[in-house]
């Protein structure tokens, strides 16, 4: 079997050295009832690469990829172009097949790039310090809420009406499990500033999102002021990292914690995962951050090196007093983020953001000409919600037949009945003028 190097001769020799009769001797502690006569039935036997490849390829071709035809789906994951260099770098054996850098002397490759990742995320979010990645944006948001409760010793968080519903669900689940009260403002296209009024003396933090799930860009500074007035924290969430080159970033809006999704830089759509969660905070909250932190130091010869640090916050040391239970995070996706960010640079990211905004404006201009269509999002970066004269689900199905994946119906994320006639559509640098005119034409036919 191609992945198992031991030969029959090896096994016999090794059993002899150990002094065991048969491999079964090692399984003596398994209770009788759980001992199986042979391989587990109901499963096929091993197969060669050709057979396995055929099975997987057959499954693969039954999916419609973002590259085939017109594509405007967003809501937390975005179709961007990733330079070929990025995939080459993350396929390097030395990055792909290594683990958390427990032995820094032989893990400087991982640690050096994590230090670059932390610097890039801090700069992008305009915050003081960033950790070495979380699973994704939604768990990053949930951990931010828990951190706020730890820091403020309060047990109530308030979520905006524009927070991505999946992020809200993940946050609610984790908070309520620890008896933390979660107040969700009603879904609103442009309601982030309502957070200011919702904060009180018991609030640990308010969580706002810009651009929010409807694409609305908001300056959360008034929310920050209101929160700080009550000694509460502002958690500023984002699901489209490219936007931060153009819209006010968390740090410029007075956020204490920034939490978001890094998929749109360096990572593929991957049907929802793996992605990479970004987590950054102000300097004074550093020691309360969840996850791994990479720090600079020197070796015995005084040469600069990097190590995992402040691990006394983490589960493998603080166990039940840890800031979070996270161990494995999203290392390789963080490297993909860093490689793409290194290629882009601030200058390239800005231009990428402008191209995205161009595409979304052109899309909005085109869709507005369709009778009965109304753009609802007042200020957007590369994604907006629009009203359809007919039920959104039906519109999307008819668009699909015409080769256009027109976006996400709000009702897929929100409880039924709230915005059944709203579609959220995104455009990126991959969107062509033809895509946009095809969308508008198809919509005209349907509506």
């Amino acid at each position: 079997m191609r992945y198992l190097p031991l030969t029959e001769a090896d096994r016999a020799e090794m059993l002899a050295t150990i002094g065991a009769e048969r491999v079964d001797d090692f399984f003596g502690d398994v209770p009788e009832a759980a001992r199986l006569p042979g391989p587990i039935d109901g499963l096929p036997n091993h197969q060669g690469e050709l057979a396995v490849e055929r099975h997987l390829s057959n499954l693969g071709v039954r999916n419609r990829t973002a590259n085939e035809g017109r594509f405007f789906v967003g809501c937390g994951a975005y179709k961007h172009h990733v330079p070929a260099t990025v995939d080459h770098i993350i396929q390097r054996s030395e990055f792909l097949t290594t683990y958390t850098p427990y032995q820094p002397e032989i893990a400087q490759g991982t640690l050096h790039s994590l230090f670059e990742f932390q610097t890039q995320v801090a700069e992008l979010t305009a915050m003081d310090v960033a950790n070495a990645s979380m699973y994704d944006g939604s768990t990053s948001c949930a951990e931010a809420a828990l951190m706020a409760c730890r820091v403020t010793r309060r047990r109530k968080v308030v979520l905006s009406g524009g927070l991505h519903p999946h992020y809200a669900a993940a946050t609610r689940l984790l908070c309520e499990a620890q008896g933390i009260e979660v107040v969700s403002l009603p879904p609103a296209i442009d309601g982030e500033l309502d957070l200011a009024a919702a904060v009180d003396g018991d609030t640990a933090c308010v969580i706002g999102q810009s651009p929010n799930v409807f694409g609305t860009v908001t300056d959360l500074s008034p929310v920050a002021d209101a929160a700080h007035a009550q000694k509460a924290l502002l958690v500023s969430v984002f699901t489209e990292a490219v936007s931060l080159a153009m819209v006010p970033p968390p740090g410029e809006m007075g956020a204490d914690i920034a939490a978001g999704e890094g998929q749109s830089i360096g990572n593929s759509l991957n049907f929802g995962g793996p992605y990479v969660g970004l987590f950054a905070a102000s300097q004074k909250l550093m020691r309360q951050m969840p996850g791994r932190l990479c720090g600079e130091t020197v070796d015995a010869d005084g040469k600069r090196g990097f190590v995992l640090t402040l691990s006394t916050r983490e589960q493998h040391i603080r166990r039940d007093k840890a800031t979070s239970n996270i161990c494995t995070n999203s290392g390789l996706c963080a490297l993909a983020f860093t490689a793409h960010m290194t290629l882009l640079g601030g200058v390239g990211l800005k231009r990428l953001a402008e191209l995205n905004h161009d595409a979304a404006c052109a899309l909005a201009d085109a869709l507005e000409t369709v009778p009965g269509v109304e753009i609802l999002t007042p200020r957007f970066f590369n994604e907006f919600a629009f009203k359809t004269p007919v039920n959104a689900e039906a519109v999307l199905a008819m668009l699909e037949e015409r080769g256009v994946l027109g976006g996400v119906r709000a009702s897929r994320l929100l409880p039924a009945g709230t915005m059944d006639d709203v579609i959220i559509a995104a455009a990126t640098e991959c969107t062509t003028p033809d895509d946009i005119s095809a969308y508008a034409d198809a919509l005209k036919e349907i509506v």
């Binding site: 030395e94 995962g273 190590v307 640090t309 640079g345 200058v347």
Partner: protein, 527 residues
């Protein structure tokens, strides 16, 4: 609970016996010197060619980022060289034996990487209409089938992002079950063996439970008396978090009895499945009374560790907990169409809700299914047998020079204590010496129940020749440690860097690069 010295701050004394021959360039032969990307002159440059934006009428009003994103942009040649040079400093499974106990650092098949990159899996959006992703949903369903069949469990939640997240899923299902039974307020206590991985207690606390630690018996397993004693009172019991095989690399003999005791006490049996590699294809957790168990696809099923992730922690559930599984999950309707149930409010189910955005780690699902199809039921059984055979072989060849923590055969990992080590020498010195011999050290100072623990997990993808060579080198180092050879303190000498000053890193944390102020720059350098 003594402070785990896993993070024992090394404060290396400055050493002098540095082989001369420093170079002008800072590189040494093939090992290239390489600065941080911020220490290049590539500020306001870019390595990506993008068309000129039209900058038509903006829809952003006056909302703009004030300070430009100030990050360097390297050209493609500089970027490739930067990361290829950095990769030269990393140890990896593809380079050599990587026996990190409890991490299952097995070979990552390349076919898995190719399949995960098929456009049909890598280039589809989680919120596309379900009719356009039937192949992806079928794959998730097939993988779920393999996981349920291999574990003998009726249900599985696929969305957890890693092992710890799978633990959260299992404990939240238990929490939801207690809530439905109206006993959430009273049943808070979760029993956790002292040898458990740090994520277990951290997860319990995150779910609002309290942690009650069970002592380890002299034979490295759960102390049944202490357990029974802790179950004297049962009305506050939520459950137990037991790792099997446990983190000492031993199968919990009394697992059936433990399950029955917990169930009798009205609690649930959460099992940490990190060590599943020892029994995959041979023993089904479902036959052992388990109620919930996370599986680390990046351990047992070879999806790459990637320098610390991404992982994937699908969690199998018993009938008792299945109704409480999180959304989303895949269902196959009668005419073979696959449906993703994302928001389950049907009365019959009591799902604890959604724990993460979207549907789980599709990239890891494709790799894991490719791995399972490649091995098949017969191959997976051989995986468990060879992983256990390899661990016992290492233990047998080293027990003469090192002290096995417990007597008798081990499962997939061999645990040694530092009893054989002379005063003045510590486990960390042995680890650093192994680096010079070309090996990644084993897991150290874990589990906590063994002093100066050294946990060696070879996995089934190591050849006998590789194990023999490791045992020779390990024995040589063990003898030096037993003789108190202080030169061990200077190891490593052949690694890209010598021992790093972790105390300094924690005392004065520098967690990002900052532009040195001109005048204070000299100061910093001199410090």
């Amino acid at each position: 609970m003594t402070m785990n010295n896993q993070g024992r701050p090394t404060s290396p004394t400055l050493v002098d016996n540095r082989p001369e021959g420093e170079t002008i360039s800072g590189s040494r032969g093939l090992l290239q010197a390489e600065p941080l990307i911020f220490e290049t002159d590539r500020w306001n440059q870019t390595g990506v060619d993008l068309p000129e934006p039209k900058r038509t009428r903006s829809r952003l009003g006056d909302l703009r980022r004030k300070a430009e994103v100030s990050l360097p942009g390297l050209s493609e040649p500089e970027t490739v060289r930067h990361y290829v040079r950095l990769s030269q400093r990393n140890y990896a499974i593809d380079l050599g034996f990587f026996p990190l106990g409890s991490c299952t650092m097995k070979h990552n098949p390349r076919l898995n990487e190719r399949m995960a990159r098929l456009p049909g899996f890598a280039d589809i959006h989680p919120l596309q209409p379900q009719s356009t992703v039937q192949g992806a949903l079928q794959l998730i369903d097939e993988l779920a089938g393999w996981l349920k069949t291999l574990t003998g469990m009726p249900a599985v939640a696929m969305s957890p992002k890693a092992g710890a997240h799978g633990e959260l899923c299992g404990m939240l299902a238990i929490r939801r079950a207690l809530e439905v039974r109206g006993e959430l307020a009273t049943r808070k206590r979760v029993l956790v063996p002292a040898s458990a991985h740090g994520t277990n207690p951290a997860t319990a606390i995150q779910c609002g439970f309290t942690v009650d630690e069970i002592e380890a018996a002299p034979d490295g397993r759960v102390d049944m008396d202490d357990l029974r004693q802790k179950l004297a009172v049962t009305d506050d019991i939520a459950g137990i978090m037991l790792t099997n095989p446990n983190t000492c690399g031993l199968f919990e003999r009394d697992i059936r009895e433990i399950a029955d005791l917990i169930h009798a006490a009205g609690g649930y049996f959460y099992c940490d499945g990190a060590n599943f590699n020892a029994i995959v294809g041979r023993v089904r957790p479902g036959d052992l009374g388990v109620d919930a168990m996370h599986i680390n696809l990046h351990k047992t099923f070879s999806t790459p560790h990637g320098g610390g992730g991404p992982g994937s922690g699908p969690t199998v559930l018993s009938d008792a907990l299945a109704p409480y599984a999180p959304v989303p999950f895949v269902e196959r309707d009668e005419d073979g169409q696959y449906q993703l149930i994302e928001d389950d409010r049907r009365e019959s189910r009591d799902s604890f809700g959604r724990m993460v955005a979207f549907h789980g780690q599709m990239g890891m699902f494709v790799r894991a299914l490719t791995y399972m199809l490649s091995h098949g039921a017969d191959g997976l059984k051989r995986v468990a047998e060879d992983s256990v055979l390899n661990a016992n072989y290492v233990q047998a060849r080293l027990k003469a020079v090192m002290t096995p923590a417990f007597d008798g055969y081990c499962m997939h990992e061999a645990l040694f204590s530092d009893a054989f080590v002379a005063d003045g020498i510590e486990t960390i010195d042995i680890a650093k010496a192994l680096i010079d011999e070309g090996y990644h050290p084993m897991t150290m100072y874990f589990p906590l129940v063994v002093h100066g623990a050294m946990l060696v997990e070879p996995t089934e993808t190591e050849s006998k020749a590789e194990l023999d060579r490791f045992c020779e080198a390990m024995a040589g180092i063990a003898r030096r440690a037993a003789e108190g050879d202080m030169s061990l303190k200077t190891a490593p000498v052949h690694a890209p860097l010598r021992r790093l000053d972790e105390t300094r890193a924690a005392r004065k944390p520098i967690l990002k690069w900052e532009r040195p102020e001109p005048e204070s720059e000299q100061l910093a350098a001199a410090e």
